[in-house]
Amino acid sequence: MNEHSHPAAGVYLRVAAVLVILTVLEVGVFYVPAFHPVLVPVLLVLSAVKFTLVVMFYMHLKADSRVFTFLFGAPLLLAAVVMVALLFLLLGALTLRGAAGAA
């Protein structure tokens, strides 16, 4: 991949329009009670799509060298795994302690 093959301004504008629409959707589903049972997964998906769009088009990872994707993706993956592990460990420990305290 060429390090400098960046998209045209039209692509940037279209991505911005999609980002704005997704943000409006995010705020919209927050206020609509019908979405509350699925609020968390819907918001996480919308957020992930926005994140990916910015990284792929504005940070040019779609067109740039795979080395940059690795330099960004590997720590991001590590961070995600550590976050999930931390949430399981600490939320589990805190919940158990709370249950023990209640008993």
């Binding site: 704005v20 330099l71 590997a74």
Partner: protein, 199 residues
């Protein structure tokens, strides 16, 4: 008659992979920043809902106000890529305009954060109030500090452009600044969802 090829910018160095060393180093830095922000977001999530005294998130977070701040930061990212595109094609007039607009939108975001923090303190939420206050201010404050660095960086580039010291030969400098700015934007995308919308 032969003509000498134009000399590349003095600061341009390439690695054995043929990639710009500054850009590689900056992506590695962004990777380390992912770990920093993930640790702060994880801490927020672990202590979420465990405050024993108020104010609680649903009592204090202002979603319409923060939605405008989010829109502002997304638009600043658009300005940044337009600035880079202008500098790369040698259009320094628009390069300067877009760079200034990016910094201005960054300042507007910071102003919004100052207003939000001031309002929260007036409502009784400080770093010491409860677990929510502590983790919220550390997370969003660290992000705000990154935005501040970004605004100063953008204004420095803008001044250099005004002085005529920023040309298309320095497009990589603008690109690296853009990487930093977009990273700050994607971190906010996550914070907006995790902290503000998922209460």
């Amino acid at each position: 008659m032969t003509h000498a090829a134009p000399a590349p910018p003095a600061a341009a160095h390439h690695t054995s992979l043929g990639l710009d060393n500054r850009k590689m180093a900056f992506w590695a830095f962004i990777g380390s920043e992912c770990l920093l922000f993930t640790s702060l977001i994880s801490t927020y999530l672990v202590y979420k809902g465990r405050s024993v005294v108020g104010p609680y998130p649903h009592e204090i977070l202002n979603i319409p106000f923060t939605s405008v701040s989010t829109f502002d930061l997304l638009m600043s990212s658009l300005m940044m890529v337009l600035a880079l595109a202008a500098v790369q094609r040698g259009d320094m007039k628009w390069g300067k305009i877009w760079l200034f607009c990016t910094a201005l939108l960054g300042l507007v975001f910071l102003g919004g954060q100052v207003i939000e923090f001031t309002e929260f303190v007036h409502k009784g939420l400080t770093l010491q109030t409860n677990l929510f206050g502590c983790t919220f201010f550390v997370l969003t404050g660290t992000h705000g500090a990154h935005v501040t660095v970004g605004v100063l960086w953008l204004l420095t580039l803008w001044v250099r452009a005004l002085q005529g010291k920023l040309t298309s030969a320095n497009a990589m400098t603008v690109e690296i600044t853009g990487l930093y700015w977009h990273f700050v934007d994607v971190v906010w995308i996550v914070i907006f969802t995790v902290v503000y919308l998922i209460q």
